[in-house]
């Protein structure tokens, strides 16, 4: 396998853009990434795109084809990747593999989304053989209620308080004012968060991420091409994809087996641990993490499940400010999903943009000092997980 560099990154700001199509959002992100790389569109040899269930793609998730038509049909191969909220991470992985294998030297990875309003219906089919549909039909368990259950269990095991949960939201929004691409750029006090409406106990409105529109793009290239384009390359140290294990303690349908044999969120933890192995860098080498914070709970659970801190230590790291960009374990220095909102399939690509800016030292007031190694991670419906590590 060859070394793969991040030649350029680009983002359309996150928000609500009723007057723009998802393909227009994509084009702005792609143009920004191409300009950042110093690469012209006709030089792109393949496109790896996240498939959206909600917007564009001719209703078939053909979002990569839409983007190629928009940019100019050069006849490039297009890969449309579907993996729920992990699709951006999957697209990155395929783009990485296409360059690492030696097949192509310059590949575009893109993820974009325009989301419907409000709480989204998790299953796209209405068939009782679809366990996600059956779960919603017979129990009624929207995403926030699912996260709420996991969070309530953590409160039981580690004594996590509602105040500590709120502190994570305060942290994310403290950073958000320094990110011009974030949708919610406003500081909140602890009282603001604790006074926001209870959505799914113990999680409040300001502690879960809403849905947003947004787009992100990354140009990946071979080492030879990177040397021509820049004197300060950022490298993909590893990129992995995993699916959940049979003995995971979190049910994907109506039930799972117990006692669980592995961790919770095995799709994420397996992907992250393999990313450590394949990069040759371990948890101690990680300077920053962009993890999927659909809710504040994940900023507590994931670092422990991946060995970035001890079990039960995450709350004290939050309280002492160690998860801020200047702390010992910076988590989501972008402001995270909480500040951006989730443009579901774009998030895996969004994370790579932030990691690249951080490693180049271009993250302005949210900069993690001297960041050398960064980790990104997604988790998607169906038991999909991805991880990516960038280094400089």
């Amino acid at each position: 396998m060859r070394e793969v560099a991040v030649a350029g990154v680009g983002m359309h700001p996150w928000g609500k853009f009723p007057d723009k199509s998802v393909t227009q959002l994509s084009r702005e992100a792609v143009e920004a990434a191409l300009a950042d790389a110093g690469v012209a569109w006709p030089e792109i040899q393949a496109v790896s795109a996240a498939s959206s269930r909600f917007s564009g793609g001719k209703g078939w998730g053909l979002n990569g084809n839409d983007i190629v038509e928009e940019m100019g049909s050069t006849g490039v191969p297009v890969y449309n990747l579907s993996a729920g909220c992990a699709a951006g991470g999957n697209a990155l992985n395929i783009g990485y593999t296409l360059v690492a294998s030696g097949l192509y030297d310059k590949v575009l990875v893109v993820g974009a989304e325009k989301m419907p309003k409000g709480f989204i219906q998790t299953s796209g089919v209405e068939e009782e053989t679809d366990l996600e549909y059956l779960r919603q039909l017979s129990v009624g368990m929207p995403g926030p209620a699912f996260w709420g259950m996991l969070c309530r269990r953590r409160m039981e095991e580690h004594g996590t308080t509602e105040k500590q949960l709120a502190q994570i939201a305060v942290k994310s929004h403290k950073i958000s004012i320094h990110n011009e691409n974030a949708r919610f750029r406003k500081e909140f006090t602890l009282e603001d968060v604790l006074n926001s409406a209870m959505v799914s106990y113990p999680l409040r409105l300001f502690e879960i991420c809403p849905v947003s529109d947004g787009a992100a793009a990354v140009v990946l290239c071979s080492a030879d091409e990177a040397k021509k384009l820049t004197t300060k390359p950022v490298w993909v140290a590893s990129s992995t994809v995993a699916t959940s294990r049979h003995d995971d303690g979190i049910p994907k349908g109506l039930a799972t087996i117990t006692p669980p044999g592995g961790t919770h969120h095995s799709e994420a933890s397996v992907a992250v641990k393999r990313a450590f192995e394949e990069s040759g860098a371990g948890p101690a080498d990680i300077d920053l993490v962009e993890l999927q914070d659909n809710t504040v709970y994940y900023e507590l659970a994931f670092p422990e499940e991946w060995g970035l801190c001890e079990a039960g230590e995450a709350e004290s790291l939050v309280e002492s400010g160690e998860t801020m960009p200047t702390g010992r374990l910076p988590i989501n220095p972008s402001g995270g999903f909480l500040s951006f909102g989730e443009a579901t399939t774009a998030m895996g690509v969004f994370q790579v943009c932030e990691l690249a800016w951080q490693l180049r030292g271009e993250a302005s007031a949210r900069q993690v000092p001297d960041a050398k190694v960064g980790l990104g991670q997604t988790l998607g419906l169906g038991g999909n997980g991805t991880a990516v590590m960038l280094k400089r």
Binding site: G118, F119, I120, Q121, S123, E126, E128, L131, Y133, L134, R135, Q136, L137, S138, V139, G140, M141, P142, P144, A145, F146, G148, M149, L150, C151, R152, R153, E156, A197, M198, V199, S200, Y201, P202, L203, H246, G249, P251, G253, L254, A255, T256, I257, T258, P260
Partner: protein, 141 residues
């Protein structure tokens, strides 16, 4: 009050027996892996030969964790108007299953982690024909 009048929310998920309500699923005779709902083949990756047999689960369990849903859930979930917050939970059953379920309670905020619970079949909502639509729930014993 447990009721078995009305229509099930979906076919083949639960039944009323002489000993009370049970979830209906399956178990692999080779490796013992339980499944709810019933599986067509054994899903345990280490299983040497899938031998699926019908199985019933319940009525006992322990409440692993819960949440209270303060806002109406999106479709396909349905509810009676006016909307009332409900509790939902993951229940560890001695048959080796962790099952998702509604909690049967008049006070969702009184639910506790770790308590013993039992299976009941109760109304989820009333359909446009006026029939009670029944699902499985667990209530504290």
């Amino acid at each position: 009050m447990t009721t078995t009048n009305g229509v099930p929310v979906a076919e083949g998920l639960f039944t009323e027996t002489a000993d009370g309500p049970r979830l209906t699923g399956s178990r692999c005779a080779t490796c013992g892996t339980p499944s709810f709902p019933k599986a067509a083949v054994c899903h345990s990756p280490g299983c040497t030969e899938s031998k699926i047999e019908d199985a019933q689960f319940g009525p006992h369990g322990t409440l692993w964790s819960y949440s209270v849903q303060y806002y109406p859930p999106p479709p396909p979930a349905k509810y009676d108007e006016p909307y009332e917050p409900y509790a939902l939970a993951l229940i560890d059953m001695p048959e080796g299953l962790r099952v998702m379920a509604r909690v049967s309670t008049d006070d969702p905020e009184s639910v506790k982690v770790g308590v013993d619970v039992e299976l009941v079949l109760e109304k989820l909502y009333t359909n446009p024909e006026g029939e009670e639509v029944i699902t499985w729930k667990f209530r504290e014993v």
